[in-house]
Symmetry: C2
């Protein structure tokens, strides 16, 4: 049956067992998995078109509606990380030639610009120094000037540590005939967000942050205005895989019988269902409070070490991911490596516009505890003593 | 801190425990997970930029090279199912306005046509009756007539049960200055394929078939010719998430330091690494033989029941997924539902052009055993006795 000799031998690397170190993940995500989520991953697969799977998908939709505080029908999980959700928003909401406005105060805005340019949108950027957020006045100026059909804003700017206020931005956009898209990948479950009340038209988040699920899934919801824009497009979205009309049908969000679209990541969805159940059990308000308190405690302890928080205004600090200025005289990479190797803790450096400027420490979901803070502070103290320091 | 009252209560559906029935999955995939793969999924996450993760990614690249029988540098796993791999091929290889040729003898060809049309390619279809494959002569005619830059062919046409021969097609395409893309989602590990020897320029497959991994990951590799076309594009691919140049860098397939692109599905990659290790342990030739033998046994037993195989030519039958004509007088849906509910076995109906015409039975990876065949045959006998039959 084999018609040719094999030219590639079984690789020696695969003869060794899989080695995964057990670490406390205090970066900006992925975070550690909760044990109930790990257990969910030990089930056997079932087929993506079985009623039992549809039931789990429906549970997930319920859980997302709760986490987002929305009653939107078009609410589902995407087979891809936060970047996929970002691209789904761009690809489906925007048609080539349409004008969009993007708040660029960190890496996520930069990426939206990249995505929107690829599909031929007219992209206008509102650029800010990393570590600042957008006021209503600034947004109004941008909307008046550029007349975009969509405005993109990041709620939890995890590359800079900024929490963007959201009250009033939806109404403002709607007065200017513009849809509001909000990225809450790094903030959902950790900072208050009220999709319907705040008039957010598209909201998305990721599985691997506060939800303590494996990376690879994102959550998304569309207002009636956003749904209507998508369903009335003149052109097909440029991607089949990310076509929201097809996904809406497969997830049972329209009134038609479900049709196979692609094979969803069944096991990851089991895990996500359990993550959302855990959040519903705990309650959003308790979860928000937990993150706020743990992160404020972290901030106090960092300042006691003589470290500088990157975001000056206390109210603008993200209650999930903290940015700390790289201590003077140190190379950030030495510190993160020291923590990883000597203390089994992951913290990371900056990203995009904050690269080289900051260390980032995340307290996400089950990691948002006083015990995590005590561990990372002890480890940082040790690192500051042992990592090489240049003379200033 | 919470500034508004909650308008959506924790959903009652999530107060109940997750329920996943344990089934024998003998559809065209997903297949059951092997126990080593399930165990891999119980690890904690690690960060996507840690050396330990890069090592696992490198192991995966080695494993794919073995499974594909290729030495290509640009070989990696994609964060998405087979559909994602299909779209990655289209989006990266083809620029708007370029001519492509697609073998459409089942649903997979239809989907490639859809994807290629979305990005503005000039799409030419070679349409065949479901249940037939393409001869070298037919392909040569198409290449001469349409002068495509890429030709798309499906190795394992799981909607119709066809195995496409591959010897000679690569050379033929290259003589016509055309790249050959082959979909082996449903065949990899079950039927011989030799990427380098057969001159295949892009080959992709999925995690949830013969590899017995969870759905949600796909494998892909690019020849030097394909890599060069992608790296010398005049336009950026229309998707950031699926941009192969960025993915190549993140997966360590170029000579530059790895840069964060998106958060990869860490846990699913642990599972895939173990799946590839299992395939390497078993050996490709043994795996091919196992599928061939189990499926031939299935075919004999089906024929003993008086059922008709949908693919007439024995050599053209896929050794992984079998299509059987729906027995006269029966509704296919009654049979699949009966097997699911009474025998805890998943088999499925047709898809796309084979919808309503066939039942599909898959013997994939650890499910490719005589015992699986015996179970499904017993169940089918029972179904034929108990499902309603119309008078002919």
């Amino acid at each position: 049956m084999a018609s040719h000799p094999l030219i590639v031998a079984p690789p020696a690397s695969l003869r060794k067992p899989l080695r995964v170190p057990n670490k406390l993940l205090l970066g900006p995500g992925p975070a550690n998995l909760s044990s109930r989520v790990i257990l969910a991953g030990t089930h056997q697969v079932i087929g993506p078109l079985q009623d039992e799977m549809y039931k789990i998908m429906d549970d997930i939709k319920d859980g997302i509606r709760y986490a987002f505080q929305t009653q939107n029908t078009l609410t589902l999980a995407l087979s891809g990380s936060g970047h996929t959700a970002m691209e789904v928003s761009v690809l489906n909401l925007v048609e080539p030639g349409e004008s969009v406005l993007v708040g660029v105060n960190g890496i996520w805005g930069e990426r939206i610009v990249d995505m929107a340019e690829r599909i031929g949108a007219k992209v206008h950027q509102m650029v800010k120094v990393p570590g600042e957020y957008y006021t209503l006045q600034e947004v109004e100026k941008g909307l008046t000037q550029h007349k975009p059909v969509v405005f993109f804003l990041t709620h939890g700017e995890s590359s800079t540590g900024i929490l963007q206020p959201l009250d009033g931005y939806g109404d403002l956009c709607h007065r200017h005939d513009c849809l509001l898209v909000v990225d809450s990948v790094a903030s959902l479950g950790g900072a208050p967000i009220y999709m319907d009340k705040q008039g957010i038209d598209v909201l998305y988040s990721g599985s691997q942050k506060v939800l303590n699920s494996p990376p690879g899934i994102s959550l998304i919801s569309f207002s009636e205005k956003a749904r209507s824009k998508i369903f009335n497009r003149k052109t097909k979205p440029l991607s089949f895989v990310l076509d929201m009309k097809l996904l809406a049908n497969y997830w049972g969000c329209d009134n038609n019988p479900r049709v196979y679209h692609h094979t969803i990541p069944i096991i990851s969805l089991f895990a996500l269902r359990e993550s959302l159940a855990l959040l519903a059990d705990e309650g959003l308000e308790k979860s928000w409070k937990k993150h706020q308190e743990a992160t404020e405690y972290l901030h106090r302890e960092l300042q006691k070490l003589g470290l500088q928080l990157f975001v000056k205004e206390p109210k603008a600090r993200l209650p999930t991911v903290t940015t700390v200025a790289v201590p003077q005289g140190y190379n950030w990479k030495n510190i993160t490596t020291y923590l990883w190797k000597k203390h089994d803790i992951e913290i990371v450096g900056g990203l995009g516009p904050s690269a080289g400027l900051v260390l980032r420490i995340g307290l996400l979901g089950c990691n948002a505890t006083k015990a995590s803070v005590d561990r990372v502070i002890l480890a940082l103290k040790d690192a500051l003593r042992h990592c090489p320091k240049s003379k200033l």
